[in-house]
């Protein structure tokens, strides 16, 4: 950047170059939510480059998979993206079920869908509250955690765990839902619909909030696709890609729901897409509750010792962050020859330098928060 000094005497007018410098952001920064480090190259207040450093939470889950059985690996998927544990469980179980050719009972699939959508709302609620806090508003956090607690209580009642659930198992579920499950969800939906309207007034319509998010950090659709972004990060740029629509799993093809799309691809569009997704999740849960009937929750023919036939198996689900995929290469043994996890946050983070380059240092947090990064999901 060049600073031009105006002076009455023409000979004194000269160009002064400013010095660029590196600033370290993280690994312990309140807005990175986990251990994540950025090296930010600044020119004054303008960001000229960002280098993300990941791997602080690398636990080698892919390596672990080679030393455990297919059943033992399931609980590790909850530890990938701990905010959408149910969805991760489902993605992995679906991959193994596809390989074994298992038919999952209808009730189990409906419960899986309800659980997935509840998890998605809980995850988006955490993101929404924390996004407010990242931008300096503390109130949203209080509201969002109230709703999140309600969901966590519902999950806890059925599967005994609040975050790392390990409820969806190969062939079905670990147990049928608690008797309070349906009434509590109905009560939650009624309350949460009203809350969403309030939240929209509290944050989405707030002038200060809009000034900080609107037109900031524009992600072009072509760049987003090339970087493999998915979820609301990509849909904010107007790309209609949702695994639930493009490659439906479970009974998503029977459900009526919309995929919110943005137009500009700025931070506000990404925010709006994620915010509106919660309303759609409520619609899906309602339809599931209507269609669900009593029945078995575990497939009858789940083998005691699971051995996948030699070959390659792939499955992907729409997690709260985007396209979450599992790829299993089997050599016919009791544990995978190679198991690869595609975490959506990994690709969403990779695009950050492209999005934030040229913006001010204060916009760094605005943009990185709308990408909804979760460090354990990125590092695996």
């Amino acid at each position: 950047m060049t600073v031009t000094i105006d002076c009455c005497e023409e000979r004194l007018v000269k160009n002064l170059d400013t010095q660029e410098y590196w600033v370290n952001m993280g690994p312990q920064h309140p807005s990175t939510h986990g251990v994540l480090r950025f090296l930010v190259k600044l020119d004054g207040e303008t960001i000229t480059d960002v280098i993300p450093h990941i791997g602080y939470m690398h636990r080698g889950i892919e390596k672990m998979s080679e030393n455990v059985t297919y059943v033992q690996f399931n609980h590790l998927t909850s530890r990938l993206d701990y905010l959408s544990a149910m969805i991760n469980n489902w993605g992995y179980c679906m991959c193994v079920e596809k390989a074994l050719g298992l038919e999952v009972p209808a009730r189990a699939i409906y419960v899986r869908m309800i659980m997935s959508e509840l998890t998605r709302i809980a995850s988006h609620q955490l993101w929404w509250g924390v996004y407010g806090m990242d931008l300096g508003a503390f109130t949203p956090m209080m509201h969002s955690f109230r709703d999140r607690e309600t969901i966590n209580d519902i999950l806890e009642e059925t599967c005994g765990s609040r975050l790392t659930t390990h409820y969806i198992r190969i062939g079905g579920l670990s147990n049928d839902v608690h008797e309070n499950f349906v009434p509590r969800i109905k009560k939650f939906i009624d309350g949460f619909r009203k809350s969403l309207v309030e939240y929209a007034t509290l944050v989405s319509g707030n002038v200060i909030f809009r000034a900080r998010a609107e037109n900031v950090g524009i992600l072009k659709p072509a760049v987003g696709i090339s970087y493999g972004c998915s979820g609301s990060t990509l849909r904010g740029s107007g790309v209609n890609y949702d695994v639930r629509k493009q490659d439906p799993y479970g009974y998503y093809d029977r459900m009526q729901f919309d995929v919110p799309l943005g137009t500009k691809g700025d931070s506000l569009d990404r925010y709006e897409c994620r915010f509106k997704e919660m309303e759609q999740s409520l619609r899906i849960i309602e339809q599931c509750l209507e269609q669900m009937e009593p029945g078995e929750v575990v497939a009858a023919k789940v083998p005691k010792k699971i051995k996948l036939p030699a070959g390659e198996y792939f499955s992907h689900v729409e997690s709260a962050r985007g396209d979450h995929a599992y790829f299993i290469v089997s050599d016919g043994g009791t544990s995978p020859c190679r198991l690869r996890v595609r975490s959506p946050g990994y690709s969403n983070l990779a695009v950050l330098p492209e999005v934030v380059r040229g913006w001010r240092v204060a916009d760094m947090v605005t943009v990185s928060s709308t990408l909804d990064l979760v460090a354990p999901d990125i590092d695996r």
């Binding site: 690398h58 696709i225 090339s226 493009q246 992907h316 396209d323 050599d331 595609r342 990779a350």
Partner: protein, 173 residues
Amino acid sequence: MSEEIKNTQENTAEAPQIHDAELHAVISGAFPDVALVASPQIATYAVKPEKLLAFAAFIRDDARCGFDFPVLVTGVDRAPENRMEVFYHLLRTRDGHKVVIKIDLDRANPALPSLAMLYRSFDWHEREQMELLGITFEGHPDPRKLLLDDTYTGYPLRKEYEDEAHEYIKRPY
């Protein structure tokens, strides 16, 4: 087209299932020596390393293919057979159709051209496979370590890798 399918069937022991006849015709028309290999779920094409860049550019840019979305890259260590495999998963955003590129490599010297400039997402994916499996991606724009520490030696995802911690932690299973 029927002849080409016949050819690919001769190449592999198991008859590969054709998931999308139209797409297969386009791909095998442009690359007659690229074989469709048996895979239960996704159309998988076995490509030689020297053809990889041309093949990937074709299925990305050709309007009839249009695989614009990079899903993942995996290296697989097939130690008993003394070879390595690399899988590129691609997808197109308009209808979610998937395709897999499979590359067979020599385990002594696993090297293939990098696709990081075609699909920017593969930059990180390839870096990860480089440090975990020791596969060389030629022409990679930034071949540093990604997840592991710079001082880390060895390739953890190779089958012969022994973690020092195993001397101290003994598990019964």
